[in-house]
């Protein structure tokens, strides 16, 4: 088992960065003029907050991602439906070029990882003032028939491991890697990834969202992942990063990368969306050192109920972007 020595100071958690705005309710959100708000509705109540916006206060323009397929999306802009290939530099470039607004809000609440990640990557490449929006759920749905690794009932079958569009790393020579799962509640997903990649125990560095969205969530995370954490004996190597902060997780990933010179970071963003954002940003900034490993679960439409805080992450100027 891998542990840090007891006297080693823990990485101080970054203070609430000024780069994050928080709104107790989404209807308190106000956007600057000349901004665009890109979003998608989903079966979850928290992804319907857009319907409650005062559209005069929120943005000059709304773009709705209407359909999210594996490799393509359809979106509605100014009443017209367009398609976009997620693995096309020219499509992504054109998407952002058409949006002639100073500030771009990309609401990731209702968007799948495989959709927002390439949009975000292209926005950064194009030098846009990109701000990510995320609405926390009020509650997650409990599993009516819970097992050790499935206390919550959040996703159905998985499509299986595949790179996020545009994020494939085809480096095959380097067998030296450290596996960094960003943990959520579904231990079964961690278990499956450990089973698929079989990393040695000293090469697993799990990251747990502490503080969580709710005070008790870290305990759910530990409980849900208890079996794979104990079987792989990696629990002692865990790091912590605020569950709602992509910048905190970025800092932790940077620390791990610095400690593991010469090793590729295989990061599995199977926890919170803000953690996944941090992982994607870290990949963008350290392309050949990082591989994102994602299992593409089919999220249950009623996996959460209610909506809680709204968070807006300002990326322009942060992390060298």
């Amino acid at each position: 088992m891998q542990t840090r020595t007891a006297d080693a100071p823990l990485e101080p958690l970054p203070l609430d960065p000024a780069l994050t705005e928080q709104f107790e309710r989404s209807d308190l959100f106000v956007a600057p003029s000349n901004s665009v708000y890109i979003f998608a509705r989903s079966g979850e109540a928290r992804a319907k907050h857009v319907d409650g916006f005062d559209k005069n206060k929120v943005a000059s323009e709304f773009v709705e991602v209407w359909e999210q397929r594996q490799w393509t999306i359809d979106y509605l802009r100014r009443g017209n439906r367009h398609s976009l290939q997620l693995r096309s530099n020219s499509d992504l470039k054109e998407f952002w070029a058409k949006i002639e607004r100073d500030v771009c809000y990309l609401d990731i609440t209702g968007l799948a990882h495989h959709v927002w990640a390439p949009l975000l990557n292209a926005a950064i490449r194009e030098g846009r003032d990109i701000r990510l929006v995320y609405v926390q759920p009020a509650e997650y749905r409990y599993n009516p028939n819970p097992t050790e690794a499935q206390i919550f009932d959040l996703s159905d079958a998985k499509r299986g491991t595949a790179p996020l569009p545009g994020f494939a790393l085809l480096e095959e020579k380097n067998s030296h890697y450290v596996f960094v799962p960003l943990l959520g509640f579904e231990g079964v997903r961690l278990k499956a990834l450990l089973s698929e990649f079989e990393p040695p125990e000293e090469k697993i560095v799990p990251i747990i969202g502490i503080p969580g969205f709710q005070a008790e969530y870290p305990f759910h995370t530990y409980l849900g992942n208890k079996v794979p954490l104990s079987e792989s004996r990696c629990w002692g190597a865990a790091y912590y990063a605020r569950a709602d902060c992509p910048f905190s997780i970025y800092a932790i990933l940077k620390k791990i990368a610095n400690e593991r010179q010469g090793e590729v970071l295989k990061i599995a963003p199977i926890g919170t969306k803000p953690h996944a954002v941090g992982a994607v940003l870290f990949k963008i900034r350290n392309w050949q050192r990082v591989e994102l490993v994602y299992d593409h679960p089919e999220r249950k439409p009623d996996r959460t109920s209610g909506a809680s805080r709204m968070l807006v992450y300002h990326l322009k100027g942060a992390l060298g972007i």
Partner: protein, 624 residues
């Protein structure tokens, strides 16, 4: 009393049961399986086996890093090796990029073929660099040879090995960018399928630095390739050149495509490759012998106080009558003797005085099963002693499951080295897990910490490994359905085992009826059975050696015996029941009702209390 630190060190030696976890120790602990010599030949070879059966260890043992370690780390010997193995594990996170609506299948095939060329070329160059460093020989590639290699990969002509490595890395990055933007068009500069492998191997092995040698491409987890990708690799295998060959590790049913890119051309055994199925290569005895060697090899590395142990001593065999006593036979016997004293005749009492508790219990078991009067059965014993001894020999094992029917605690023991290796059924990882968990339990129990592990600790360890294997299935893409099916079948076999009186004993197999069903149900059943076989939920067998491997109905299925201790049914390969496809689906969708239907057919009910270790799943059995 064993020193706790020594005990912990011994247990730790068994805790590393995945090849990937062993790192430097993988080769130190390498134990050659009996099929290894066949695998070392110059011919392509396919090794079929479930997770944990040792494929990765064998493939990595053949790699140049493995051979170097296994042959005593002698740099001077490297040049004399007849082959150099290059290990490659198929990573789904990489190869899944070669799919999508952006390109037509033919264009994806070309992209994937180029990618595979880059991968193998990169590995060969990595090996050459290592070879040069280890042997001290400067790797020289002739100008003409370098041209051939570079042209085959569409690279600028390099001058020497380092610049070739750098050019290849640049090409790899450029290709990665192109694949990440494949919606903008097919990547340019694609190499021809297999051409660079031919070029490099010919340049090196014909007259170059590896003159007369052969390269082994060791491809692990072949099942991870998509069907279309398997066709590409099949083509390379079909047309191997003398300077290289392929050694493939694949899960059962994971080799889904046998054609090459010429759809009329098939890879056939033994013309094109040697086939080694680990489950067939290992009979029960051969596997036990192999498992013993593997475990004793690890024990030798334990601290001196324990290093001379033999694994067979750690796991002493448990006879049936001895086990019956552990399960409470004496209590059952005493109850029966009291009953005879109170209700029987003096002749009955005389008969009971002359027979053991085990036989007495068995006579009662038999009488109940055949709805005969106990005393009539008892009185038949003296005149048919031989017949009863035979029956006892045939059915007493089944009767063991009834002794503690419905009671708390262990209801049946799974103990003894031959039993533990049998429930592992060819899976060496299971053996190591069983030993590891048993040792941990044993040494936790300090007062009893001698050198042999109690049947209770062995059984608890076996239940743990069974449960762990069950929950691991949950993570598969269709794992929830498979887990539900297993929970349903396991409960059926458990009830059948505990109520075996008067029924076929030791039912732990099933055959799916060939009933007419709609194609959707048929596909769902076939997919579940295939998934179960691939991931070792089931073991399948057919009386017909020529059975089509893809015809799921042509086979009988047994729950993998690793699940036997968890559910409590017989681990021995015995009798089967027949279920309909609709019942298979019922066990997944509506398990409670389906379990009742199947059990009712043999006049049993699902009302008996669950074994303790199944209580975790109580809501599954009640709510669904």
């Amino acid at each position: 009393m064993v020193n706790p630190d020594d005990a912990a060190a011994l247990a730790k030696l068994f805790g590393l049961y995945r090849a990937e976890w062993l790192n430097g120790q993988l080769y130190e602990l390498f134990t050659e399986p009996n099929y290894f010599p066949e695998f070392r030949t110059r011919k392509p070879c396919v090794l079929v086996g479930g997770r944990g059966t040792g494929k990765t260890t064998v493939l990595r043992g053949l790699s140049y890093q493995g051979q170097y370690a296994l042959q005593g780390k002698k740099p001077e010997a490297i040049k004399s090796w007849p082959f150099y193995g290059i290990y490659y594990r198929v990573d789904t996170n990489r190869i899944a990029a070669f799919d999508g609506p952006e390109l037509k299948p033919e264009a994806w095939r070309r992209c994937f073929a180029h990618y595979f060329n880059l991968v193998l070329s990169g590995h060969i160059l990595e090996f050459l660099t290592w070879y040069g460093e280890m042997t001290g020989e400067q790797i020289k590639i002739s100008e003409e040879g370098m041209k051939k290699i570079c042209l085959s990969l569409n690279l600028p002509i390099a001058e020497a090995l380092p610049s070739l490595v750098a050019e290849l890395e640049r090409a790899r990055i450029a290709f990665e960018v192109a694949i990440n933007n494949v919606g903008d068009g097919i990547p340019s500069g694609l190499s021809m399928q297999g051409a660079p492998i031919d070029a490099i191997s010919t340049v090196l092995c014909e007259n170059g630095v590896l003159h007369g040698k052969q390269l082994f491409f060791l491809i692990d987890e072949y099942e991870n390739f998509s069907d279309a990708q398997q066709v590409v690799i099949n083509t390379l295998i079909k047309h191997v050149k003398p300077y290289y060959t392929f050694k493939i590790g694949v899960k059962e049913l994971g080799w889904r495509q046998r054609t090459t890119i010429n759809a009329t051309e098939q890879l056939t055994h033994p013309a094109d490759y040697e086939l080694i199925n680990i489950s067939e290569a290992f009979t029960e005895d051969k596997f036990r012998e192999f498992a013993t060697r593997v475990c004793n090899e690890r024990i030798k590395r334990a601290p001196a106080s324990l290093a001379n142990l033999d694994v067979c001593t750690l796991f002493p065999e448990l006879g049936e009558e001895e086990e019956a006593r552990l399960l409470g036979l004496e209590e059952a016997g005493a109850t029966l003797r009291t009953h005879v004293r109170k209700e029987g005749t003096s002749q009955d009492r005389r008969i009971t005085e002359g027979i053991s508790d085990a036989m007495l219990y068995f006579l009662d078991y038999w009488a109940k099963g055949h709805q005969e009067d106990f005393f009539a059965t008892l009185r038949s014993y003296p005149s048919a002693r031989t017949e009863w001894e035979t029956r006892f020999g045939n059915y007493f094992h089944a009767a063991l499951f009834s002794i503690r029917k419905g009671k708390r605690g262990i209801r049946k023991h799974y103990a003894g080295w031959s039993v533990l290796t049998r429930i592992a059924s060819g899976n060496i990882r299971y053996v190591l897990e069983l030993v590891h968990k048993s040792l941990l339990l044993h040494f936790e129990d300090q007062p009893r910490a001698g050198v042999s592990i109690s049947p209770e600790d062995q059984t608890t360890a076996a239940q743990f490994v069974g449960k762990k294997s069950l929950t691991e299935l949950e993570g598969l893409s269709d794992g929830r359905r498979l887990t539900r099916l297993l929970l349903g079948l396991g409960r059926i076999f458990e009830v059948m085992a505990s109520e075996s009186e008067g029924h076929a004993p030791e039912v732990n197999q099933f055959h799916v009826q060939d009933a007419p069903i709609d194609s959707r149900t048929s596909d769902a059943v076939n997919n579940l059975l295939k998934l179960g076989v691939t991931h070792q939920a089931f073991i399948r067998f057919s009386a017909n050696k020529l059975a089509d491997p893809t015809d799921t109905r042509a086979y009988d299925y047994m729950l993998h015996p690793i699940f036997a201790p968890f559910f409590v049914f017989s681990d021995r390969k015995k009798r089967k029941m027949t279920v309909s496809p609709a019942e298979i689906i019922g066990l997944v969708m509506n398990p409670r009702a389906a379990i009742e239907v199947v059990l009712k057919r043999s006049n049993r009910s699902a009302d008996s209390p669950l074994p303790d270790q199944l209580k975790l799943f109580e809501s599954f059995y009640i709510a669904n």
